[in-house]
Symmetry: D2
Subunit: 329 residues, 4 copies
Amino acid sequence: MTTVGVGVIGAGVMGAEHARLLASEVSGARLVAVADADLSRARAAAGGAMATTDAEALIAAADVEAVLIASPDATHHRLVLAAIAAGKPVLCEKPLASNTAECLEIVAAEARAGRELVQTGFMRRFDPAYREMKAALDGGELGRVRILHCQHRNAAAPAWFTGAMAVTNSLVHEIDICRWLLSTEYSAVTVIPCPSEEGGMSDPALFVFETETGSLVSVEVFMNAAYGYHVHAEAACANGTVSMAHQGLTRTRLNGAEAGYFPLNWIPRFRDAYRIQNQAWIDGIRSGVLPADRSTAWDGLVATCLAEQIVEALATRQRTRLELPARPV
Amino acid sequence: MTTVGVGVIGAGVMGAEHARLLASEVSGARLVAVADADLSRARAAAGGAMATTDAEALIAAADVEAVLIASPDATHHRLVLAAIAAGKPVLCEKPLASNTAECLEIVAAEARAGRELVQTGFMRRFDPAYREMKAALDGGELGRVRILHCQHRNAAAPAWFTGAMAVTNSLVHEIDICRWLLSTEYSAVTVIPCPSEEGGMSDPALFVFETETGSLVSVEVFMNAAYGYHVHAEAACANGTVSMAHQGLTRTRLNGAEAGYFPLNWIPRFRDAYRIQNQAWIDGIRSGVLPADRSTAWDGLVATCLAEQIVEALATRQRTRLELPARPV
Amino acid sequence: MTTVGVGVIGAGVMGAEHARLLASEVSGARLVAVADADLSRARAAAGGAMATTDAEALIAAADVEAVLIASPDATHHRLVLAAIAAGKPVLCEKPLASNTAECLEIVAAEARAGRELVQTGFMRRFDPAYREMKAALDGGELGRVRILHCQHRNAAAPAWFTGAMAVTNSLVHEIDICRWLLSTEYSAVTVIPCPSEEGGMSDPALFVFETETGSLVSVEVFMNAAYGYHVHAEAACANGTVSMAHQGLTRTRLNGAEAGYFPLNWIPRFRDAYRIQNQAWIDGIRSGVLPADRSTAWDGLVATCLAEQIVEALATRQRTRLELPARPV
Amino acid sequence: MTTVGVGVIGAGVMGAEHARLLASEVSGARLVAVADADLSRARAAAGGAMATTDAEALIAAADVEAVLIASPDATHHRLVLAAIAAGKPVLCEKPLASNTAECLEIVAAEARAGRELVQTGFMRRFDPAYREMKAALDGGELGRVRILHCQHRNAAAPAWFTGAMAVTNSLVHEIDICRWLLSTEYSAVTVIPCPSEEGGMSDPALFVFETETGSLVSVEVFMNAAYGYHVHAEAACANGTVSMAHQGLTRTRLNGAEAGYFPLNWIPRFRDAYRIQNQAWIDGIRSGVLPADRSTAWDGLVATCLAEQIVEALATRQRTRLELPARPV
């Protein structure tokens, strides 16, 4: 296979960005089709490639050799199953599906297909800063992780945002990346929300996980942190720590201050992660050797399944044991 | 009063440092006496001043106009009461006393004396970095504090150290400084210890406080953090954050790395805080205007009283409401 | 044109890296051939593509649509001319040619070809950190640059390295990037070498340029800086400064220090710059719109021509006026 | 001697600050008198101490045991000589005197007095950051200094400021501190001014010194750097570097940026240096052991003498050999 023909489903902000990456920055990929309910949006993202409103037709098209799903969350389950049925590799933006049952269906369908076809789009695993952290942790010099502190901060959330949405939209990334960083599963969580102001959501909230390997993971999710988009992590280990540096490449001195800047949202922060994820996905398809750090369908299930349990814990505020279903074999 | 004659009780590491500061770096103070159970140690710390093994005699001595207590914790209660009885200003290293009942006796004795005589040695309130943080928080531009993250890390604790000791020795500083930073009291705490390795203490432990003003305070106490002595705080507010910078004055590039250094223990980190605290104490005695940010006897009681309750919460691991006794009027 | 077939000449460290980038990280490129005097080295870099010892044959090959030259410096002049003669786009590692006369021949040959075919491999123009600096400078808020301070530090130079080599190998990058950053030409240079130790080369040396727009550019070139490979720049402007941040993505605390790491050589530092440069080169060939920030043949000439004059100034240590030949039209 | 009675001459910004330090932050000192041509200003600085317009009377007063001179530069020579004649220790703000001849008179007078009485107020030698740098350099691990880069930046200079004033007011501090940091003398200087805009002074200017021990020292003096008051130094040595960190104790994140702040002028930056200098001066007087790092009368002469030669070099723009007079024995 010289290059891989890819069809992108969804031409919103993320879908259009994926189409752009596949067309112009990923080696070995060809953008061959874009589907969106809004045909003009599909056309804009497609450049010269085929544009359609019919996602199933895109999956079925002969020159679509692999599928990238960035359509609304509720459609993921159906479209991933369609791609599996067509025997085509599929990279699905998180969440893999809307609930655990749907995720289990996907995991089972893939198992029946006899071939790993699904990658979940937890792109942070390909972010150079997270990879540098993981390399340091796996290198051994720092010793066993004792506590991992994470901050997930958005500049502002819409007025209608809820605490449950903060879990399923934002915390879900932390759920995936921290178990990947620590190579472990969570055994329990304690949720401590910051009281709301004037009837709004509890924001920030602190989630403290215990892991099967005896570490703690504290995650602050702050949807209205105001100053910018900022994702931070620090692992305190037996011998020392490793943390994410400010990711700005330059510093400016102006008006009495030395400053490094934050982006307004996640796209500039993770642009390279998306590119590298997509390159690794294409490389895996071409070579038959899947990327070592991919988020699988099972990883997608774990994230959705734990998010469900944590949303419940938001209400009870009790320390809650976290459970996973039996993994299909 | 031109200068204040000070007697120092206790000539261990901290007592000797206090004696040195009063003799050579605090304006308006004269070191007139040092008491220690070990007379040679008292003499070494006293320079040319009087040395004695009799703490009560020191308190009674005519040229001792103010008393600084840095003797073993169990003696604080008795010696502070003696200083109050003698009508002499007293600066007592933390803890003010070993339990809430003893602290209450001190608060009551001071009230009966009709004059504020007691300052508790929570020196962080005079640390320039903490003061810069508080000024930023009080300045208003950052908005209301939503969550304050603190790390208290020691390089290593003795083998016999326990989780309760981590609370009464280390967390107690955080208890005082965070309520000072936020100008509030705590309403509840949740304790989440990191499982112990090979039968040692749970280390680190995470303590999450809720405050009366609706903020969260998360404190990691890590007694065996290995890399150095490191105290850190970051306040995430409605509009932005303020945090402590690395306190090193220089950076070194050597052997493939750019590095800033940590001290091995608290003394280099807080040397300036001790000096400024002691200067403010002496200035208050000379001018009759007590330092605005002093930790009072009541503040000393609050720290001891909350530490007692948190030690109990260590065992139950339940979210625990925190209570204070009625304040004598 | 769907993809561009590229032939790489030279399979040393840089040539092999270019071949790898074109084969696996640059969208729209196909690696079709690698030439090297050492056939086994060519084969290793070629993967499955054609390997040859005949660079001219590679340039002539029908499926070679564009040529990347990373062979020894002395061969650049001949091979670039051959690519121009063949009417094929060519990206040539610096230096464009060994002296000004040879560079002028290339510039003239390209002019006669009636089409811009040559790009000089000054990859720093595509480095994200330098681009962020230039964007800040061009943004206007900082005002006019008054002095640009640069440090070019290698961990170690071979024992036979000379001051002249430091100019032609290292300073030449600064010559190009600083005139690009400031959008100006140099009018004069003052060279101040640090006295040699025990008969070695003068190292570091300080080169202070004056520009036609009234700025200063100070460049330290330190070939034996020991601690790592480090390239730094800070522009002090009328209203403020912009400088390069430490490029490490993480920080580690270990053994009493908080550290960020340096690479040992330029390849990790500029890996992304090479990829982005090559992507921009391929995009330009495919689209017919050349990359705005490319280093042209004339830019290659300027760097070589100024380096020649600065090597002479090393000996005289006089302030030296810098001159460029008339630009062929 | 229990405490030292100090008279301060000059009650402008610096004189008032010195009076405040001696009265309230320096152990072992008593502020006994302040002289200023403006009596009300003297009174304000004196607190309850004697205020006078007669500087000579202050020097002669019986309870003035030591003299601190912070009056206008032109008066330093006369007043230092008066203090020497009175046999009283004197700490004189820089410059020691207006020209080399006057400095030589002071050095000779002190030599005749048979006792070291004069300290020049180059307070940076007592700045904790500079001391940490010097300790790193003297520690040996970094190896021999090859090049020391310094930036001296003021937010803004008055319109009537000249390049010569930049040398005698600002560069003079760098002259002193760099020879102290490197424990050497300068052998030559090359001055490269940045062309002036619209008829103003050349600003910034770059001064490159060669030292007797074979190092280079490059100093940027930028009087209108706009963003704040900022003094920076980085020593690049045979094995690595040491540089000054940003001196802010906290960092703030607000409005899309993470920021550390600069002061508007030198006073907040060097407040601690002044206090420590004055404490060391008083300690030396009390103990008879002069502070190891003091700037002597000879150091004051060196600074003035070199500044004179550099002002001349500003005009010629030639590399200029720097010479010192024979040191009186």
